[in-house]
Amino acid sequence: MNPEPVTSWITSFPAELDARDEHALALADLHERLAGRAPPSGRFVRMWALSTLPAKLFAAYSLGWVRARFGSVEERERARAEAHWQAALYALGTMGYLRGAVTKAGQVLASYPDVLPRQVVELFATLHSEAPPMHFALLRELVRGELGASPEELFAEFEPTAFAAASIGQVHRARLSDGTAVAVKIQYPGIARAIRADLANARLLLLPLRLGRDWENLMEQLTEISRGLEHETDYLREALWTERARAHLIELDDVVVPRVFAGRSSARVLSTELLRGAHLDEFLATKPAQELRDRHAAAITRAGFRLWSSQRMFNTDPGPGNFLFLADGRTGLLDFGSCREFDAQEWELMRLGLRASREGGEAQRESIRRSAQLERLDPDSPQARALHATCEWLWAPLRHQGPFDFGDDDYLAQGVRLFGESLRQGHTRQAPVFVYCLRQFFGVRALLWALGARIDFRAIAEEEYARAGL
């Protein structure tokens, strides 16, 4: 599969469309149908479903294109809206069915407002909370298989209906015998192996590119993605990351990381302290004051820099579903399933990036060359210019004195444009660790943009760097 069509779809999506009620009905209908399907774990079945996604998108768009070309202006807009909606619906349908790696991809895309048109982002965003649910009898068997006893035996109370769902599992409220409220995350049966099958498919689909000069680097990046996704299916690993993050963030008054209950956890079941708070959209719906939004933004930023600089680790998935806005003004950090720790070589690259963000000039050129894994980089080449522009954009908040306005639409739009251009020009070569670093950089900026945050990003970063002796 050539990656170019993906970029083409993204850039060809129309920008503005009106939501319609029948679309909501169509979505509900789709979810009902999806609820009748289990995730297919056979490799060829999954490959078929993946392969038909582009076909479905293409059909929806070509139909829309024909109608738009021969219709009046008003009809053209309507046809575009319909084609757009159909494409999004088909994409969501395929993702809901596969539930695995592809759904994760949908969630990642939803973190990038303006890369995709609003309706698509909203659709993808529903994956954070509206994946087809598992019923209690199935959960019971999953828990019994994992923990050797049923939920009724393990918990004093267990709510049979999930209160949150994601791509690879769903979360239930429960109560321990001592009265502690907990959140129990339970994974879909077979999803870990299904994800591995998806990734094997991705390698097969990429085979036609194997003679390209960046083939080896592409495979390294795919290995990085594979490793990250596999880690996300291992809740024991997530429990360890969560405990580690909790231990190192406990000093931050504005941050809460839930406790893990190891005796009620396994590779496929994770029990943590239940935090009560609002998710991003609910929080923003209350029209919170700038001061409160900034407080949350500062807490999220400081926690990120604290883990990055003192633990050499970061959460690769800063999607909005992983943050809770507590009534007392603190921020809850959830889901450490996709953390990444730097090895010595990667950490050296990060240190070089830090120096480049402070000094610019030769350090910046060297940082970019090494991050792109190039022997040499002509400073006047389009690639060098694109990479420098992207770095300038990324590091702007680190170089800005005083509060930086993350809510500035132009700032985010510029980053998305630079990222898109870089992809269009085929500049995908990079050190594998940047696959998730970029996800984190963009994800955090998208989150701060949604919060309309105005915080002194540089001051927070420098305080945390100094604390770690950087």
């Binding site: 009748g36 289990a38 774990s41 019923h135 009898a137 068997e141 049979p160 049966p189």
Partner: protein, 201 residues
């Protein structure tokens, strides 16, 4: 010498208990009726007064397991559960009961399939299972389930049983996924409507 009903029952139970022990240690296909009779301390010929074939013996044991599972399922029924959940819970309880008797279940399968003799213990076992499924369908729909829905249930039930008996996936998660899909399909037919309704599905 005539023997009392109580003695007959005692011998029958002893045969079943010894057969279960032997089948737990070895594939039932490799255990002879002579071995069963010997373990139960009765003459080989006497065994056939109680169980005309080894197949009948295997099915009787399976039937007893399934009846215990049905009782457990009834005790655990959850108010407000949708039909697909109830069907899933029923088969899950059966698989839980059969957990230590996979070989027994496999041995029974050939006697339960569509080409098997319609009479005898197999027919009783099938009728008991389908009566319970029909009862469940009836509690979720005003109309009785169509006959083809019950037939399909039975075919799929045997398919799940066969899959489960050989499933090597971690904690049998592939069986759970298959059972989930199967019971959703049967529930749609059993309700007589194309769409799932009711509580969480």
């Amino acid at each position: 010498m005539r023997i009392s009903e109580a003695q007959k029952t005692e011998v029958r139970e002893r045969v079943l208990a010894q057969a279960r022990l032997l089948f737990a240690r070895r594939d039932p296909a490799r255990v002879s009726t002579r071995e069963v009779a010997s373990a139960a301390r009765i003459a080989h010929g006497t065994l056939f007064n109680y169980f005309p074939t080894q197949e009948a013996l295997v099915l009787t044991l399976l039937g007893a397991d399934l009846q215990r599972a049905h009782a457990r399922f009834r005790a655990r029924r959850r108010a407000g559960a949708a039909l697909e959940e109830e069907l899933f819970a029923l088969v899950a309880a059966e698989l839980e009961e059969l957990a230590g008797a996979r070989a027994l279940a496999l041995a029974a399968l050939s006697a339960l399939g569509p080409l098997a003799d319609a009479g005898g213990v197999a027919a009783e076992l099938r009728a008991r299972e389908l009566a319970l499924v029909a009862e469940l369908c009836a509690t979720h729909s005003s109309a009785a389930p169509p006959a083809h829905a019950l037939h399909l249930y039975w075919s799929l039930f045997l398919g799940v049983l066969s899959f489960w008996a050989r499933d090597a996936s971690p904690n049998g998660e592939d069986t759970l996924a298959l059972l989930d899909e199967t019971t959703r399909l049967v529930a749609q037919l059993g309700r007589g409507t194309p769409r799932p309704t009711g509580a969480q599905v």
